[in-house]
Each structure stands twice: as C-alpha cells, then as structure tokens.
Symmetry: C2
Subunit: 386 residues, 2 copies
C-alpha cells in the first residue's frame, strides 16, 4: 500500500506537477517565474513574488541535483537566479516581496522570509551549477536573515513597547531549514551548532497541557502570552517543524528528543484533524476561543503535504501502526481533494467542507515548492521503508 502511494507520488510529481510549472511558469522573456496561474495555467498577475522565485529555483535545482541532471530544469533555474540577482534586493541588501514582470520593485514586506527563500535557491543552484558567487551570496544571506529574525527593526519595523514579546515558530523552522542545507553542504561547524540551537528553542514553544507547539511562544520562554497569537495553533507549522527537527537530529542524535518531536507531531494531527469534514485545519485556538484569521477553518494544500512528509518520516523511524494509519488517512483526504488530473498541479484552497474555494494553481504564496518537495521527500521515505 505505501509502496503504491510512493509510486503515485512520483508519477504525480513528474507527470503532472513539474510539467505544469515548466510549461506555464517560466518567463523566457524577462526571466523569473509567473506564479499567479489559474486552473489551466494562464497567468492572471505578471508580478514576480520573491519568496516564490527563490523557492522555484530551489525546487528545479534540487531535482537536477538529486533526481536527474535534466537540462531544461537547470536552464529554468538559471533564469530565476539571474532575475533574482539583478532585482530581488534593495540598496541596503534587504529583499523585496514582489517585483514587476520586468523586475522593478513593487512591494516591500517587513519580514525576513523573502531572504530565506532567496538563500535556499542560491545555495541549491550553486550546487547544480558550481557557481561559487551564488554560494557565497547564499552564505552571507543566511547570516543577514539571522540578524533580521533577531531584530525586525533592521527591516524597518518599529519596536513598540506594547508589542507582544514573542518568538515565532516560522522563524525557528526557516532557520532550521537553511541550517540543514548548509550543514549538509559545508563542513562549517557553526551550522551544526545552529541546528542544536533549533532543537533547544523548539522546546520553548511546547505547551505541556496539550502536547502541541505554540505558533508564538513568549520570548522570555516563560508564561503563555495572553493574546490570540499566544494561543494560536497551526497544525501545518507543527508538521513542518517536526520533520525539520527529525532531520536536525541526524546531526545531534538524541532518542529522547526524537520521541518528543514525534509526540508533538501526533498531538498536532490529533488536534488539527477535522472530525466532522476531514482534513487538517489551517489555524485553531488552543482553548477553542475565536481566531482572528478569517481563513482559519479552510483546508490548505501545504498543510496536508507537510503532514504527509512528517508522517512518512515518523513511519520511517518508528514503524508503529498509528503512523501508518494517520499517513493513509491524510493521504486519502489529500488525494481525493487537492490534485487536479484535468489540468495538472494541485488546487491550493478548500473550504472547511472540502469544496475547492479557489481554482487557482498558484498565487503570491503558492508556487513550485511545497507540492514537489513533499512528493519527492515522501516518495523516497516510503520507498525505503515499505
């Protein structure tokens, strides 16, 4: 059964997902990628969103590096890298959020994530191309992102005395994801140290009563913040952080911490699963209080593929039936709702009941990243283990 699922994932990845992006997304005129693509692949917004440019460079380079060195993949990756290196950063080295089709800056977001995905793209591309400038730029960017995460004033966000002092799970997992790639690509011990730091910091998000990781922990590590952000649960984040931490544990083996990570994953899936309509919620309040996010009860593609990757990791290291059962359950829901056999790729957004609420295949946050990464990683894990 799991072997059959792995085969389905590979088929979907190479016959539906990647062809969709290669056919519709690459801008051969100005470079970079269109990501606002409708159900059939038509462009409905020509802007270039920097998160998604970096992510697509990463995905295409990764396939080239680890699946097969196909020329169209690396050539499309190069179109992204060149566009990003020309246009993505402002005179202070910070990254724009979006650019026009031609590369003029369009929007600046006071967040570090555009830098994260630019860094990941440059590093993976440098492995494929041997371009040492890219690699140097990626490493420099890693340390800049560290600074931006530590002090958002560097991004132009004012420090206000009444702002809740919190640490975000997203900051932890993007740091972990970057450090994992660098710890693998280099022998610099600092990246391994940062993975150890991530493993320590994850505990600051732990909520003992529920076994969940809070999306926002108090910065001082002590009591829970008495604002909705302090009670916010995003099952998708917990799944994503779980598999990053399991990979970080390969650098710092610790059986007890591994069990702890698995326990947070199990708690997230149990808490996040919608027992009425199936699927995992996007956001929830720890105490069942109202959420400020209007999209809280929607079912999102990335939450589900991240859950699959995390559960595949769990099953690979701890082959107990509960992981297999959850994996099959999340797979069945996902497979019945998200992929679009008619036009390729996946739908991204369902309402709580499971109806497709947006027929788009890409937008300013959904691009060529979570689906192909998840299908690649999950299929490998399930092939190894079955």
């Amino acid at each position: 059964m799991l072997r059959a699922i792995a085969d389905e994932y590979r088929t979907n990845l190479f016959e539906s997902v990647i062809p969709f992006w290669m056919r519709h997304s690459v801008d051969r005129e100005f470079g970079g990628y269109f990501t606002c693509l409708d159900r059939e692949g038509a462009v409905y917004d020509t802007r270039k969103y920097v998160w998604l440019q970096g992510r697509q460079v990463w995905t295409l380079s990764k396939l080239y590096n680890e699946v097969e060195p196909r020329r169209p993949w690396i050539e499309a990756a190069r179109l992204g890298v060149e566009f990003l290196r020309r246009h993505a950063r402002d005179p202070q080295g910070r990254c724009y959020f979006s650019l026009t089709r031609e590369g003029q800056p369009s929007f600046y977001q006071r967040k570090p994530y555009a830098g994260v995905f630019l860094m990941l793209g440059l590093l993976e591309y440098s492995k494929a191309s041997g371009d040492l400038d890219c690699r140097r730029e990626a490493e420099e960017l890693f340390w800049l992102v560290r600074d931006w995460v530590a002090d958002a004033r560097l991004l132009g966000r004012p420090a206000l005395e009444g702002a809740p002092a919190l640490r975000q799970l997203a900051d932890l997992y993007v740091t972990c994801s970057m450090a994992l790639e660098l710890a693998t690509a280099t022998s610099d011990p600092r990246y391994r140290d940062i993975l150890a730091e991530c493993l320590r910091d994850a505990r600051l998000h732990f909520h003992p009563g529920s076994g969940l990781l809070l999306e926002n922990a108090a910065a001082d590590g002590t009591p829970r913040l008495e604002v909705p952000e302090g009670r916010l649960i995003c099952p998708g984040s917990i799944c994503e952080v779980a598999w990053f931490l399991l990979r970080a544990l390969a650098f710092h083996p610790n059986e007890r911490q591994q069990q702890w990570v698995l326990s947070t994953l199990e708690a997230a899936i149990e808490f996040g699963w919608d027992r009425q309509h199936g699927g995992l919620f996007y956001f929830q309040d720890l105490e069942g209080k109202p959420t400020l996010q209007l999209e809280a009860s929607m079912k999102l593609w990335w939450v589900h593929i991240e859950a699959i990757v995390a559960l595949a990791h769990a099953w690979a290291i701890d082959p107990r039936p509960k992981w297999r059962n959850w994996l099959e359950r999340v797979h069945e829901y996902t497979w019945a709702h998200f992929p679009d056999p008619a036009h390729g790729e996946w739908f991204g957004y369902l309402d709580r009941q499971g109806n497709v609420s947006h027929t788009l295949k890409g937008n300013n946050y959904k691009g060529c990243f979570h689906v192909p990464r998840g299908l690649l990683y999950a299929s490998r894990l399930l092939e190894e283990e079955d």
Copy 2:
C-alpha cells in the same frame, strides 16, 4: 412591510446591539473599549484597536446627539476619547493600529484609517460634550489624513517604482465620510468642495462594461490596471460609497449624477449576489479570474448592513419596485443569518454556504460601528418613506 422592518431594526439596535457593547466592551479600569468579544461577550484579547476605539466613540456620541442624551452613552464615549487622546498617536502625530489594554503602542500599520476613525470619534464627541479641543483636534486630523492618503511615504511606506499606481475606493469613501460630517458641522466651504471632489473622483473608478466601481482605479484615470487589484470588486465598498455619495449630492444636487450613483449600486448588488447560496460576496474578480484574497467567497456582516443602508437610500429617493425587492431580499438573508438573539449583537462572518464560521461578536475589525450605524440610518429612512 418596510415599516415593520424599521421597527425590527430599532428594537435590535436598542435591545440587542447597544446593550451588548455597553455591557461587555467598556473598560472602566483603563478606559477605551474591548472589541475582541466572543459570542457571549467574554474578552479574548484585551488589546485596544484604534480604528474600533474611534468608531465606538462615534457611535455612542451619535446616539447621544441624535437619539436621546442618555448619560451612560456619553460617559462611555468619554472613556474612549480620554484613552485615545492619551495613547492613540505617536510622537509624529501618526496613529497606532493597536495598543495594549493600558495604552502602550502595540502595532503600527502603514495606513491612514486609524486616523480617519479617531477624527470621526473626536468630532462627534465634541458635538455631544461641547469640548472645543476635541473639535480642533478632529479638524487638524482631517487635513493630516488628506496628506497621508495623498502620500503614504508620510506613514513610512516606501515609494517603489514598480508599485501599481492606483487610487483606492476606500480612500475616497473615508474622505467623503469625514467631509460629510465636517460640512454638516461647520460652515467652512472647503469641506463642501471636498465633497464635490469626491463626486468627481468616484467616476475614475467606473468600469463602463459592467457598470461597477473598481476597488482600485489607475491613478492617472485611464486604462485599467493589469494586476488582480485592478480587477477587484468589493460589492460592500460600492454600497458604502453609494450612500456616502447620495448624501454628498445633498450638498451639490445633480439629478444625472444621482442616477449614475444608483446605477452603480444596482450593478454591485446584481454582480455581488450569490445566486447559488444567497448573500453578497466579499471580493470578486471583475473577469472571473482568481482572487488573491482567501476570504473572497465569505459573507460578511458589514457588506450586508451597508447594502441595506444603500438600498434604503435608493428606495427613499427613487421608489421603484426594484429597490424595494432588493431591499427585502437582502434584509431577509441578513436577518436569517447575522443577528444572534441568544446573546445579542450580530455574528460577523459566514462561509459561502451561510454557516457561521466565526462565533465572535467583535475582533480587530468588527466593533460597535457598522451594525448600529446601519440600523439607525436604515430605520430612519424606512420610517420616513413607508
């Protein structure tokens, strides 16, 4: 029938809506208002959101000024005004978006709207209290907001060469709403001139093919912007702007422009009505392309009460059956879905099918404003005309 609806609105306003806010929202310890209230009125976030502080001051002062000079209303308004005057503005005179319960700045948004609602609250309160400082501050703020709308760099937003050059319908109607209050309260001719400017500028949003007003028009007044923002339709915005413009026309009578405004209202209701599940959509794409807003197909309380107010205005000046029919249709949907007889006030957010998706009565955008204003204005119009 319409007389009976007017009675229902008055009953709902004075027996359900206002008691809910007076009972649960006023912070008698630190001043200002809690607006993050769950279904039963319990506070789930103690922060004070500046838009909603100003709006509640306006509502309570308006009721005091125009319905009955009840002491609890003006005392609660004073608690809001004092809190805002102590805490709402930064050293440069700009307005924070949110404050802690005690009044420390918590978040700064690069938008002019906190200033708009602070201005409206101060002006209405000054009429109730005779406080001339409030009135002066309101007038000064009006001109500051004008500057902020004209140049967002004053709010700290970078001017980027690739940003779409657009003018927002929201900027038009907040300007119109402020100028209407000032043109009524003062004899300064500049406010009437600004109403004439709003009537002119509204035409820049007109899309001839559909008869709709675009949420974002090209700043130079010519071709439609080829980004999703340029195709964005918000039926609630068109309804709100319609009744502001109809009121502005009382200062600058023009039969032809009145008919034009009514035509945009009719187009908005016809385009925005969900023929499958009923209710008005939140956001739509003019050409049926995907929207970037995840909450696009949800049904929101303010869209529906604004539609009712706009349709009541239309019916009052143009008593043709089509207005009465739409009014009754929107009323029936609204009345069946939003008010909460069990605990008072209205639900704010439904999914497309009409299920309550969030049981909260208030949050960082929903407070004591659209519902009471709409019930007051609509009941007056329907009493006059039936």
